[in-house]
């Protein structure tokens, strides 16, 4: 009896293992026959996965409905992806399952990963042969972030950048003048120090110190402002351990360990609450954070400079996946319309996101947008300072990890900037030396 039941379980396990094996081979082959794009009636149905909920979803749905009314031959279904943080895993799963969406929302940092999938539609030819997309109208940093090794992987979906968001009341109380567009990092440091009051548990600045990409990209903007770069132009070696990098990281370390003017959040979950409770004078953050500070009268100013004013931007993209010629063509037509100036401004009016295209700022409704979202004009203006982009190499997440450790070790006073950056550079060179598939 007992022996027999073990036999059945064993058999079952064997069968399942065989299923897994064949399924594994199936997905590695990757060639499911392309489903016919158009139905016999001539209507092409396409699906778009996006990460918008609530009022933002309403805005997407309204635009999609408008398109579907005007284009009976291309019917779009917009589906919420359950949260964009896991959009890459879900998209990859859908590709492996053979039924990917036609259009999917992906973070810019994933472009170097998704480009390796044969299902991704590279947009170079479409953009070249179709001037109506007006590719140059997208901000430069968006175009850089959508391009991997010259291959255009996505079309910009959402853009932001970092600027100083400050608490006017705390500045007034401390008698410190508001940040200006001419501020240097020394001015920033002095103001942060003046705003710091240990007795009141009040800090000049706050910094996410969990070692994640959030830790890293704030500093990368500083690195660029000091005249440095993350990698060498050929993306083969680290370049961040330059004098510029040391200058930028030393500034951060001195503020944290000597002035103690930075509230360090190693869990990267508490900064908005603490800022909203009037305990932090300045943040360096983006427009998405503004709704988290209902209690604070905020001012917005571009980031201070070392040698120039820059910022960093994290553009996200719409990526097209290949479900047959007809559906690719239909997806292209739709996404071109969806990301055009007029439609994007309609969306931004509803959600407060920054214009994807420069020409949007010349549309008549743009003034309504500025009125509805006070302060957002600084972020829009700041797009002109977003001239560089993080390297679109598949190893970036590993490089970011190494850099994150370096930055946190300096913030916690465990290492000096030069040593920490040299160590991270060594790791980066090793990471980049490994050939990628």
């Amino acid at each position: 009896m007992r022996r027999k039941s073990i036999g059945i379980v064993g058999l079952l396990a064997l069968v399942l293992a065989a299923v897994a094996l064949t399924a594994g081979c199936g997905s590695s082959g990757g060639d499911t026959p392309a489903s016919p794009g158009a139905s016999p009636t001539g209507v092409v149905n396409i699906t778009m996965w996006h990460g918008d909920i609530d009022y933002a979803k309403t805005a997407v749905d309204a635009l999609v409905a408008e398109w579907n009314r005007a284009n009976p031959n291309i019917q779009v279904t917009a589906l919420y992806n359950g949260g964009s943080d896991f959009a890459l895993q879900k998209t990859l799963t859908a590709i492996a399952g053979g039924k990917p969406p036609d259009i999917t929302y992906l973070f810019g940092s994933w472009m170097a990963n998704i480009v390796k999938s044969p299902k991704v539609v590279l947009l170079n030819d479409l953009i070249e042969s179709d001037p109506s997309v007006d590719w140059e109208d997208f901000w430069p940093t968006e175009r850089l972030a959508a391009t991997v090794d010259g291959k255009i992987v996505g079309i910009p979906a959402l853009v932001d950048n970092l600027a100083i968001v400050y608490n006017k009341k705390l500045f007034d109380q401390a008698g410190v003048g508001y940040p200006t567009a001419e501020w240097s990092w020394d001015d920033f440091r002095a103001a942060a120090k003046a705003l710091t009051d240990p007795a009141k548990k009040q800090f000049g600045w706050a910094y996410p110190a969990d070692g994640s990409e959030d830790t890293v990209w704030h500093w990368e903007a500083m690195l660029w402002e000091a005249g440095g770069d993350i990698l060498t132009p050929d993306d083969k070696q680290a370049a961040f351990n330059s004098p510029a990098g040391v200058q930028a990281l030393t500034m951060l370390g001195d503020m944290a360990t000597i002035d103690k003017s930075i509230y360090l959040d190693v869990t990267n979950t508490k900064i908005s609450n603490v800022f909203n409770a009037d305990r932090i004078g300045m943040l360096v953050t983006g427009p998405w954070d503004l709704p988290s500070f209902p209690n604070v009268d905020v001012g917005i100013q571009i980031m201070p400079a070392f040698v120039n004013h820059q910022t960093i931007s994290g553009p996200d993209n719409w990526v097209l996946l290949d479900n047959g010629e007809a559906r690719v063509q239909a997806s292209w037509e739709f996404i071109k319309w969806f990301t055009a100036a007029q439609q994007n401004l309609t969306y931004n009016l509803a959600v407060g996101a920054l214009p994807l295209r420069e020409s949007e700022t010349k549309l008549p409704e743009y003034l309504t947008f500025l009125k509805k979202y006070p302060g957002v004009d600084v972020f829009v203006e700041n797009m002109n300072n977003a001239v560089k982009a993080r390297p679109t190499v598949p190893q970036y997440s590993k490089i970011s990890e190494a850099l994150g450790q370096a930055i946190v070790s300096v913030l916690l006073g465990k290492a000096d900037a030069q040593t920490a950056l040299d160590e991270a550079a060594q790791k980066t060179d090793a990471i980049l030396a490994v050939p990628v598939p």
């Binding site: 293992a17 895993q89 390796k116 070692g211 869990t267 070790s409 598939p437």
Partner: protein
């Protein structure tokens, strides 16, 4: 329709078959969501697999790389330290609490409920509570420390303290489960034995040591095995609080596995870590059961 008395009919009608039919839904679900991924990840651990491009066969290269990976070695160390602290603290702690709650006491139901609430509280909520309690600047714990004149601590911000904070947080979070097991075991002790021990002149400590503890051995063995397995697989609490930091001081094996597979897209390498962990848990569990069985049942 099958003829009455046919072999097929008999097979279908047998208890054996009926049993399998009853468990079939569970077997299918566990098979699809348990066994298939287990087999699949075994295959993946021999591949260079980034979940996107076509995987290539690399044999034992992933496992060989593991032996030379200092971060993996550090994660093993952190996991062992964590387990060595978590298991005794949670098992001994829960025994004390269960002992305290196993009596007729006004409001004892409320206390039992209170002890169990953390178990059913979501890890995310627990994480947020502890992150604020342990905040070096705004946290209540440092506030109380300063009230009694003790120096303020860095807690999750301090590379030497972060892992200990995670231990305390998880002990608090999972104590209630262990307490329930011990309470059940304590209530299974025949009252006559306790009375007999008292009549024989055994004091409180002596009857605890000679009557209660031996009766609790099966429960203790179960809890040690169970807690060790959970401790070796620690992930959620790290993910919602320190994310392996500061400076990697709380990077445990499963968190490193997650980083490799889903942050760096080294799914093959991640699968290899998963298998090493699986084998380690298997060996440790077998050892514990072998040694434990001798202690629990060997004397009787």
């Amino acid at each position: 329709m099958l003829a009455p008395g046919s072999t097929a009919r008999r097979a279908l009608g047998s208890d054996h078959m009926a049993g399998w039919l009853f468990v079939a839904p569970a077997v299918v679900l566990i098979g699809i969501f348990g066994l298939v991924p287990i087999a699949w990840s075994a295959i993946m651990s021999f591949q260079a697999n980034d979940l996107v491009s076509a995987p290539s066969w690399v044999g034992l290269a992933n496992y060989q790389a593991l032996t030379k990976d200092p971060v993996f070695m550090a994660s093993v160390r952190h996991t062992l330290v964590y387990t060595a602290l978590f298991v005794p603290l949670s098992v001994a702690g829960s025994l004390l609490v269960a002992w305290a709650l196993n009596r007729k006491l006004r409001g004892v139901r409320f206390y039992r409920l209170a002890v169990f609430v953390p178990v059913v509280t979501s890890t995310v909520a627990t994480g947020i509570i502890f992150m604020w309690l342990l905040d070096p600047v705004f946290g209540l714990v440092n506030y109380f420390l300063s009230l009694v004149g003790l120096p303020e601590q860095g807690f999750l911000q301090d590379t030497n303290q972060a892992l200990v904070c995670i231990v305390l947080m998880t002990v608090w979070g999972w104590l209630g489960f262990d307490v329930i097991i011990y309470l059940a075991a304590l209530q299974g002790i025949p009252q006559e034995l306790m009375e007999a021990a008292q009549i024989d002149g055994a004091g409180k400590w002596s009857s605890f040591r000679n009557v209660v503890l031996p009766f609790l051995r099966p429960a203790t063995l179960f809890l040690i095995v169970w807690s060790t397995i959970s401790a070796l697989q620690l992930f959620d609490e790290i993910y919602v609080t320190t994310r392996g930091g500061p400076l990697g001081s709380t990077t445990v094996i499963v968190y490193y596995l997650y980083q490799q597979a889903f942050q760096f897209f080294n799914a093959g390498y991640g699968a290899a870590i998963a298998y090493v962990l699986f084998l380690a848990i298997l060996v440790i569990t077998i050892l514990q059961l072998k040694i434990g069985a001798q202690r629990v049942y060997g004397k009787s």
